[in-house]
């Protein structure tokens, strides 16, 4: 085993405590390193008080730690201003917040462009918006293999398009969409682009100024951070215009009997006591990833994915749906011919290989592939060639075991 990967593995207590486990479900959630867990512990044991409220030293420390994350996220995304970084409960929460806040801007006949690659959390809020406002939800074309190209966006983005809602990396197909180019086209028609970056942030260096997207959401937990926390990035000029969805403590400026004024962005979107330890610990995840470096992360994931695909090539009874787009995202989506993915999943579970089986909260693309579900192995920084060999063996056993079903 590569020494560097060995060191990485040693940073993950779930791997230390389960030495036999082969964890190939990082697209669902990544494991967490010590530095993140220790930081959560540090908050609760050293200065575990509320933020933004107290006028005493502990509260000051907690608030400093809490706000420092915003600065680190700003740098991580290369956002222009710190006010563009809104704390959320995760990607789903951010995407829903946006859709709800923007609902009133939709008029009958407006069009919203999206793809069938979307995770339910990006498409369904807009399906609802379009139903309520009599706007039209327009899907780009997708080819037989489930890949969407820039041309297909060009065909459907026009004067009527108000919003383009698009995933950066598909959680089923692993495809990386050409966000920068999509944004360029959308902006020619004054349409705003909302990017679901949940599967992108663990793998790619995301630069919101370079992409020029208008909004971008992701969760902390898929990139080594805590659950229940995430980020909504938005260009300041748009966040300033959006009304908050929830009113209460922290987000308010002046309160009178019959009226109130709210704080500016990002605070007007952040009411109530937030997930404090999660916010504080998230910066450790970013530092950890930056420390390894995204170039190295991409290279490692790509090497393991390529190795695996090569070994599985032409295996009788195996269908891999995304050979072309697996490499960069480390997502391998497959089925054993004629067998329900849940039946196959037990072969992996028996060998302590963790992977996902089902529709992956993306029923549209699963239906497009013409199946009830798929199996998905997703590869990340702590995986090794040994992991992949065990996985490859299990796939071979499965192909053999189910061949006469």
């Amino acid at each position: 085993m590569n020494k560097e990967i060995l060191n990485i593995r040693n940073d993950f207590p779930v791997l230390r405590n389960n030495p036999n486990v082969v964890y190939l479900d990082s697209a669902a959630t990544s494991l967490k390193p010590d530095c993140v867990i220790n930081k959560i512990n540090e908050y609760y044991t050293q200065y575990g008080v509320n933020v933004n409220r107290g006028v005493y030293k502990l509260s000051y420390t907690a608030t400093e730690e809490y706000e420092e994350t915003r600065q680190i996220v700003k740098e991580f995304l290369n956002a222009k201003e710190i006010e563009e970084i809104v704390y959320t409960k995760g990607a789903s929460n951010g995407l829903n917040m946006l859709a709800l806040s923007l609902r009133e801007t939709l008029k009958e006949g407006d069009e919203v462009v999206s793809t069938i690659l979307e995770h339910h959390s990006s498409i369904l809020p807009w399906q609802e918006n379009c139903k309520i406002k009599n706007a039209k939800l327009v899907y780009t074309d997708i080819d037989k293999d489930g890949s969407v190209d820039l041309e297909s966006f060009k065909k459907v983005i026009n004067e009527k398009t108000r919003y383009v809602v698009v995933t950066y990396v598909s959680n089923v197909m692993g495809q990386i969409l050409p966000i920068k180019e999509i944004v360029h086209i959308a902006h020619q028609y004054n349409a705003l682009v909302i990017v679901d970056a949940a599967q992108a942030v663990p793998h790619l260096k995301v630069d919101v100024q370079d992409l020029d997207c208008d909004f971008l959401c992701f969760s902390a937990h898929k990139m080594l951070g805590p659950t229940g926390f995430g980020i909504l990035y938005g260009k300041k000029k748009y966040l300033n215009k959006l009304k908050p969805l929830e009113y209460g403590g922290d987000m308010i400026d002046e309160v009178e009997l019959y009226d109130n004024t709210t704080k500016d962005t990002p605070y007007k979107f952040e009411t109530g006591t937030p997930p404090i330890s999660e916010a504080i610990a998230f910066k450790e995840a970013i530092k950890y990833l930056n420390n390894i470096g995204f170039e190295k992360i991409e290279k490692h994931v790509e090497e393991l994915t390529k190795y695996t695909l090569d070994k599985l090539d032409n295996l009788e009874g195996l269908t891999i749906y995304n050979k072309k787009s697996a490499l960069k995202s480390g997502i391998i989506t497959f089925n054993i011919r004629g067998v329900h993915p849940h039946d196959v999943s037990t072969i992996f579970d028996e060998r302590d290989i963790c992977l996902r089986a089902g529709h992956h909260c993306a029923q549209l693309i699963t239906k497009h592939l013409g199946v009830v579900g798929t199996l998905r192995a997703s590869i990340y920084i702590y995986n090794t060639y040994e992991d992949m060999d065990k996985f490859i063996d299990a796939v071979k056993v499965a192909c053999d075991y189910f061949k006469d079903w």
Binding site: H340, H342, D343, S345, T346, D349, E350, H359, V372, G373
Partner: protein
Amino acid sequence: MSNINDLYNQVLKDHRSFPRNKGLILDDSYKTLKAKNPSCGDSITVEVKIEDGIIKDIRHDGVGCAICCSSASVMSEVLKGKTIKEANEIIHDFYELIKGNMPENEDRLEDAIVYVNIHNFPPRAKCATLAWRGVDTILNTNKEGEENYE
């Protein structure tokens, strides 16, 4: 240590490949319920025809894994011809079996006994009970239409 062949045994594979009582009758004399597990996508519609307190017929159709589909087939054979009271007892015994508790009167379960090892595969237990829970709901609540079981 439980082996995968304990799970996918011959009886189960036979019911999966050659399901009994499969295909819906779509007749008013049947009570119908679509039993779904939204998180895994399994969906089995069951039809039950009851006359004079006796289950005259059971039909099923749907999509799901081998455990889910075979279990619907087994269930239809085991419960057909039973009184409602007997059926309720057998359903109860089946639930216990799935939890890993051998019921006293195991013979009554007939082929359903082949799910005896499923408690060693906890994530799959809900697959085995889906169709049974659909019939349970029909017998005990008279509900028809759709029902989600997680």
